[in-house]
């Protein structure tokens, strides 16, 4: 039987298979995605980002347990970086998610970035949608957390949690990485460690400053809470779950939920279009012609924009 109907029936093997096909990107994955599309749009997608070692995986483990206690099923996507030199990856987030083993209401998938730079893999958005279609009420996405360019997660998730921890250096990492703008909820994890209170205060101050010159897209009616947790023993996690529920209620009542869905649909459409058009153009022009243009640009015989015009007009 085809993968999509099996996934809708709850076949976990089919779900795992389709995720691989999506990662490898090909026609079979697209067909299945098309069949699943009408079944998407129900899951609450929650992003968890922050510097490596802040406790994202440990927190995801606790959040998932909390959602399960409240009766919600949980899909988890944990993204780790692919080595740019070998193409390999070591995906170790499951180590912190042992508690979730054996629960049929949970599905965990580790993903490598495979060259994508935004903190997620190219395929992460589609994988989230497949978990959504498979019926998981909540989808938790743990990003790479390299600290740069983590903005992809804000595009993918309804609710973005930025995790910070004391003792990772003098500065608050989230500030340095420019993560404050995308945070719907700020968590200072490792509250058992000295310095947690200062870290929380620094975040509060930064939030206050940020509110005074709020950028577009951030609604001033939602003030991101700063919450302290000890993910290792679950302290403070109930408050995070409450904040997540409050954020969802806020998104729905303000109309932002629908707004974000539409923004995502637009983004998806434009990205897919871009990819498809580029693919077709490259296929039409041929590798050799492209290399030829590259040589001419490198020799300063022609500039990039002139080359692009020529490629598009005489293909």
């Amino acid at each position: 039987m085809e993968l999509a109907p099996r996934i809708l029936e709850g076949d976990r093997r089919a779900l795992a298979r389709l995720i691989s096909l999506i990662e490898d990107d090909g026609p079979p994955a697209r067909e299945a995605m098309a069949a699943l599309h009408p079944h998407t749009g129900r899951a609450h997608v929650i992003g968890v980002t922050g510097a490596p070692g802040t406790g994202k995986s440990t927190l995801v483990n606790e959040l998932a347990k909390g959602f399960r206690r409240r009766g919600a099923t949980v899909g988890i996507v944990a993204v780790d970086p692919t080595s740019p030199f070998t193409g390999g990856a070591l995906l170790g987030d499951r180590v912190r998610m042992r508690d979730l083993a054996g629960d049929p209401g949970i599905f965990i998938r580790s993903m490598a970035t495979r060259g994508s730079l935004g903190g997620l893999a190219r395929a992460t958005g589609d994988v989230v949608r497949v978990l959504d279609a498979a019926g998981f009420a909540v989808v938790l996405v743990e990003t790479v957390g390299v600290g740069q360019a983590e903005v992809d997660i804000a595009r993918t998730a309804h609710t973005t949690i930025v995790v910070e921890a004391p003792g990772l250096g003098d500065d608050v990492q989230a500030l340095k990485a420019g993560l404050m703008e995308i945070a719907d909820i700020l968590v200072v994890n490792k509250a058992d460690r000295p310095g947690a209170a200062q870290t929380a205060r620094a975040l509060e101050v930064a939030l206050e400053l940020g509110r005074n010159n709020a950028g577009p897209g951030k609604d001033a009616a939602w003030r991101p809470p700063v919450l302290k947790t000890i993910a290792l023993d679950g302290s403070g996690v109930a408050e995070v779950l409450e904040a997540i529920a409050a954020h969802r209620a806020y998104l729905e009542s303000s109309g932002l939920w629908a707004h974000r869905e539409r923004a995502r649909a637009r983004d998806d459409l434009l990205r897919a279009l871009e990819q498809e058009l580029l693919g077709r153009l490259l296929a039409g022009v041929g590798e050799a012609a492209i290399e030829d243009w590259v040589d001419r640009i490198a020799r300063r015989e022609v500039d990039v924009y002139t080359a692009v015009q020529a490629l598009i007009e005489n293909r």
């Binding site: 795992a16 080595s83 070998t86 998938r109 490598a112």
Partner: protein, 132 residues
């Protein structure tokens, strides 16, 4: 680009020796594979579940505690029951010679003891997985 090999490296049972598992995990990563590391104290059921969710091509078990004769067959049987017959199983650690035959009979692809070069391991995994 071809499909990338995905390998699960797990430490079943209560054995705390994790150096070998980590060495092997890193070697496979450096050879271009995607390695999912589960960490210590995995039951056979947990390993089978992870292999299924992660859609891996191979499972590597590292056992230095002497419990291999009970743990390994349970993992292999679990994989079969989950419909994962195509997943290759490798074992490493302290495995006495007299157990090697029985483990291979049970379905283990290859077994590697202390001092094995990681190159040998990488090659074996690659070969077994490309045979399909």
């Amino acid at each position: 680009m071809g499909e990338r090999l995905r390998v699960l490296i797990a430490k079943p049972g209560l054995d705390g020796h994790d150096r070998g598992a980590k060495v092997v995990a890193r070697a496979l990563r450096d050879a271009g594979m995607e390695v999912i590391y589960t960490g210590l104290r995995q039951t056979p059921e947990m390993i089978v579940e992870a292999a299924l969710q992660e859609d891996v091509d191979a499972v590597g078990l590292s056992i230095l505690s002497g419990a291999h004769m009970t743990l390994v067959p349970r993992v292999i049987q679990g994989l079969r029951e989950a419909g994962l017959d195509h997943v290759k199983v490798f074992v490493g650690g302290i495995i006495p010679d007299e157990d090697v035959y029985a483990l291979k009979e049970a379905g283990v692809e290859a077994i590697f003891g202390p001092g094995t070069s990681t190159l040998t391991i990488v090659e074996a995994v690659r070969r077994a997985c490309s045979e399909g």
